[in-house]
Symmetry: C2
Subunit: 400 residues, 2 copies
């Protein structure tokens, strides 16, 4: 397995582009295209929010048949909560792109991310679609990744090559995140491409598992957006024998996919709004899987834990408190807590620990918190980031 | 009904005191006593966190018989998660106070608030208990209210006098809050005193209802502390005929109690860590009571909503988003949203509203958000505050 450049255009059979069409006032890239040479097999995971953006609702319909030609994403405007115009705009985008790409409009996936409740500027969008389609290329992955950013500070893309039988296959991906990142389901916008030859069913199965341990295990602020999705498309052009059962080649694909999704998910957390630290929270020894999940989730969401880590303060009282109100079975007098490799709480009681050592651990960019419950065999892990002044700054003035 | 001074010592039959015993390093008040002349009837509501402080655990036992002589509270140290010493220390406090007050140790309620995981400095506590008992007076309510503060900026106390039949009765209260304020159950530390003559059962019933619409309807950061409680004691000395059924005199008491608890609850939110604004969130027209609760809760907890209000930004997209992920039944295409009296969303779609008018509303210290669901008849209301730079500042360096 080898990390390679190229992002979503690393796999065979995909072109991409990113351009500025004027939705963002500062002139930065705001429209992205990822396009398969032929129709690709496709699958998606979507927000569980009861409110869904108009573009996203259309995409959820279009992907039902398991195939797609292209994904178009605009940033700067969520096309959400604008009424009938929002639906009509989404349909128009699909129709326009289908005409230019010579495919069915049902094979166009479209999503929008940004401010809610403001109608799309369709003059800008129409020109943008023309532009991204005209400029699409086999080297366009990076531009596409740039064009889906909102408050992201870093471009998030990743690709790798791996062996499947005697052939080499590739998986590429791009993502955007920043605020409103929280499970469940598609916790951001992500597009994964691959050229592995696999059935749609098995690709979907591997994809859902990969999403579950990556994008569904990150939290920035506990809010779940109305437009979030991750989609995967395969051109099936890698040249391997088709994967149609859960054999070693399927496992190779699933593992590689897990790495790509995990990498992008962590990139999202690291670049969480105002984040200065990546925090990995693990609960082990839980009675049930659900208990482990509830605990990592509560700790990852706690503003008090997140501000303590920002302040590089080994305030494990806030960790045990969050575990306590998580709703999980939690016998705190059996629980141990570690910050890095430092035990700070033993069977629910304080341990005299070396504060200097704790400071050293907390000064790092990546902090591990382990809650060992000692009441069972179940385990879960979640990534989150700290809460800093900049989170407030960014979110106190996003719309204006 | 008349607002009166005196806090917890406003009702007949209660003395109080607050002193500095050295738990807090800066020399400010850190030990409080509220003491009935005779044994009072008592009831309490306690944190639902699976982790509970040692002092609190003892108090939950002691109050089971529905009576108490005194409440002692120290601030600066939570006496939580310190193992066997924590239990022993709590017991010693009860024994010492019982001896000095000439009562059973089971009639002493004791609670502690502050840092978790650090053993109590018992030399300081012992001297403090002697001191508060020696200095207790019928004018001591204010000092007691000062002594329970942690990161609170304002002293929270309130009292009123009301008519019960031909007699006049009083209710007084003090509270501390600031961080970690979130339902359910006793979301902070509060002590309510009254002299109304009522049975313990009916006092408890009225108290639980009052807590439910006040202290259980506030949120500062969604964290639920391990030491939170509200207790009520009555000296039964007002001179009214005993209230032993749910008649008009019971209603008079319940209404007055609701006002005292509501006032203190709102004071807690206003003084939330770093808070600059009080936000009242109402959901009406929900299908079920639980749906209404889930929606106000999700909106009140959303860091994105709270930072938007701090930034005086009418970003209602974040409000509808939070309602959408609340887990409640939420048909967003039927929902209207108001900020103050300004409709910003109609049937799930943006309304062209006057941004200047919105700014005017958002500049105020108290902001009302109304989500009208139009799908049923149920309603709930919660108070929260905004998230500011100071929240991060306070919580990034609390322990040190």
């Amino acid at each position: 397995m080898e990390i390679i450049p190229g992002g979503v255009t690393a796999p065979k059979g995909f072109m991409a582009s990113g351009r500025a069409c004027g939705i963002k006032k500062d002139g930065s890239y705001d429209i992205a295209l990822v396009c398969a040479d032929d129709t690709a097999i496709a699958s998606g995971v979507f927000t569980t929010n009861a409110v869904k953006g108009h573009s996203l609702q259309m995409t959820m319909e279009h992907i039902k048949d398991g195939r797609a030609k292209a994904v178009i994403i605009n940033s700067g405007n969520a096309n959400a909560c604008v009424g009938e115009k929002g639906k009509a705009d989404a349909a128009e985008v699909a129709n326009q792109a289908a005409k230019l790409l010579n495919c069915r409009s049902e094979d166009i996936l479209f999503n929008s991310t940004g401010v809610i409740g403001v109608p799309l500027d369709m003059d800008a969008v129409r020109a943008g679609i023309k532009d991204v389609i005209a400029s699409k290329s086999y080297e366009g992955g990076h531009d596409a990744a740039r064009a889906i950013m909102t408050t992201d500070l870093s471009v998030k893309e990743f690709a790798l090559e791996f062996e499947v039988g005697s052939a080499k296959a590739r998986i590429g991906g791009m993502a955007k995140g920043s605020g409103m990142i929280h499970p469940n389901m598609a916790t951001m916008i992500g597009v994964i491409t691959t050229d592995v030859n696999i059935t749609q069913n098995l690709m979907e199965k591997a994809f859902k598992e990969a999403v579950n341990t990556s994008f569904n295990r990150i939290s920035v602020d506990g809010d779940t957006s109305v437009c979030d999705m991750v989609v995967i498309m395969s051109s099936q052009k890698a040249g391997n024998n088709v994967i149609n059962k859960e054999d070693s080649e399927y496992i190779a694909f699933k593992d590689a996919l897990g790495i790509v999704c995990g990498h992008l998910a962590k990139e999202i957390v690291k670049d969480g709004e105002g984040a200065t630290k990546l925090i990995e929270i693990t609960a082990e020894g839980a009675k049930t899987q659900e208990d482990a999940y509830k605990i990592v989730c509560a700790v990852a969401k706690s503003p008090l834990v997140k501000t303590a880590i920002f302040g590089e303060d080994a305030n494990w009282g806030r960790i045990i408190t969050a575990a306590g109100y998580s709703g999980a079975f939690f016998d705190y007098e059996s629980a141990d807590i570690f910050i890095g490799d430092l035990m700070v709480c033993n069977k629910g009681a304080a341990v005299a620990f070396d504060e200097c050592r704790a400071k050293e651990i907390l000064k790092k960019d990546e902090i591990k918190i382990l809650i060992r419950l000692n009441t069972g065999n179940c385990r879960d892990r979640m990534w989150t980031c700290d809460f800093s002044y900049d989170y407030i700054k960014i979110n106190g003035s996003y719309r204006s």
